[in-house]
C-alpha cells in the first residue's frame, strides 16, 4: 500500500522521454484524481439500494 510519504518522494529527474519519473508523476496525478472520488465512500443511494434489494430477498425466503 502506498503512503503519502512514498508518493511524495521526488524521483531524481532526467530529461528523457517518458522516463520512469514522468510515468510515476502521471500515475500520481491519475490516482489522486481517482482517489478523490473513492474517498467519497458509498453514497447513501447505493447503500440503500443494496439493503433494499437484499431485504426483499430475505422477506421472500420467509
Amino acid at each position: 500500500m502506498e503512503t503519502a510519504a512514498t508518493r511524495n518522494k521526488r524521483p531524481s529527474s532526467k530529461p528523457a522521454k517518458l522516463s520512469r519519473d514522468v510515468q510515476a508523476r502521471l500515475g500520481q496525478q491519475l490516482r489522486a484524481m481517482y482517489d478523490e472520488v473513492v474517498n467519497q465512500g458509498v453514497p447513501e443511494r447505493f447503500s440503500e439500494l443494496i439493503n433494499r434489494l437484499d431485504g426483499d430477498g430475505k422477506k421472500d425466503e420467509r
Partner: protein, 181 residues
C-alpha cells in the same frame, strides 16, 4: 435474492472505485451514478452467476464496462465527435469531477481514445493487474499493455511533460494532499 453477508460487503466495498471508474468513462457525475446504479441492479439480478472466491470488483467492473459500451457509447460518441466537447464540458464544471488543480490533467485524459483511457484507469488507478484489466475489457493482455503505454505517451504529450521537473513541486504536493493519504 438474499445475499451472503460477505457478498454484500464485497459489493459495497467495490462501489467507491466503481464510481470513480464510471466518472472517468462518462466525464459526468450524474450519468456515472446512474451507470453505477444500473450496474448494481444488473449485478444483483445475476448474483447467482458470480463465482464465489473470484474477484467481485473485477466482476462488477466488467458488468459496468459492458453496460456502458452498449448503452452509453452512442451518446458518448456523439459527444466525442464534436471535437473537444467533453473537455469543454469538464472545463465548465470543474467541481463535478475533482478539484480545479486537476483540470488540465482531466482535460488531457478526456482527449485520449476511449480504449486507451479505460486501460490506463483500470491499471493505473483502479489497481487491477494487466491480466484482470484484459479480462474486464475482453481483450488480450498484450493489447492492454500497449494501450496503457500509448495512453501514457499521449498524456505526456498533451501535458507537455518531458521530465518530472515539468510538473513542478507544488502540483505533487497538492496531489498528495488531495489524495487524502
Amino acid at each position: 435474492m438474499a445475499m451472503d453477508e460477505s457478498v454484500r460487503k464485497a459489493i459495497l466495498g467495490a462501489v467507491p472505485s466503481l464510481r470513480a471508474f464510471a466518472i472517468s468513462l462518462c466525464g459526468n457525475v450524474d450519468r456515472a451514478d446512474d451507470l453505477v446504479q444500473e450496474t448494481l441492479l444488473r449485478a444483483l439480478a445475476n448474483i447467482d452467476s458470480f463465482q464465489p472466491g473470484t474477484n467481485m470488483s473485477a466482476w462488477l467492473f466488467t458488468i459496468l464496462r459492458n453496460h456502458f459500451r452498449s448503452e452509453y457509447r452512442k451518446r458518448r460518441r456523439e459527444v466525442e465527435d464534436s471535437d473537444g466537447h467533453l473537455a469543454e464540458t469538464l472545463k465548465s464544471q470543474p467541481d463535478q469531477y475533482g478539484r480545479v488543480e486537476f483540470r488540465e490533467f482531466r482535460e488531457a485524459l478526456a482527449q485520449l481514445p476511449a480504449d486507451q483511457r479505460e486501460a490506463l484507469i483500470l491499471v493505473g488507478a483502479s489497481g487491477f493487474s494487466y491480466e484482470e484489466a484484459a479480462g474486464i475489457c475482453g481483450c488480450a493482455v498484450g493489447t492492454i499493455k500497449s494501450r496503457v503505454n500509448r495512453a501514457r505517451t499521449r498524456l505526456a504529450d498533451l501535458l507537455h511533460v518531458n521530465s518530472a521537473e515539468d510538473f513542478g513541486p507544488d502540483e505533487t504536493t497538492r496531489a498528495v494532499l488531495a489524495s487524502g493519504e
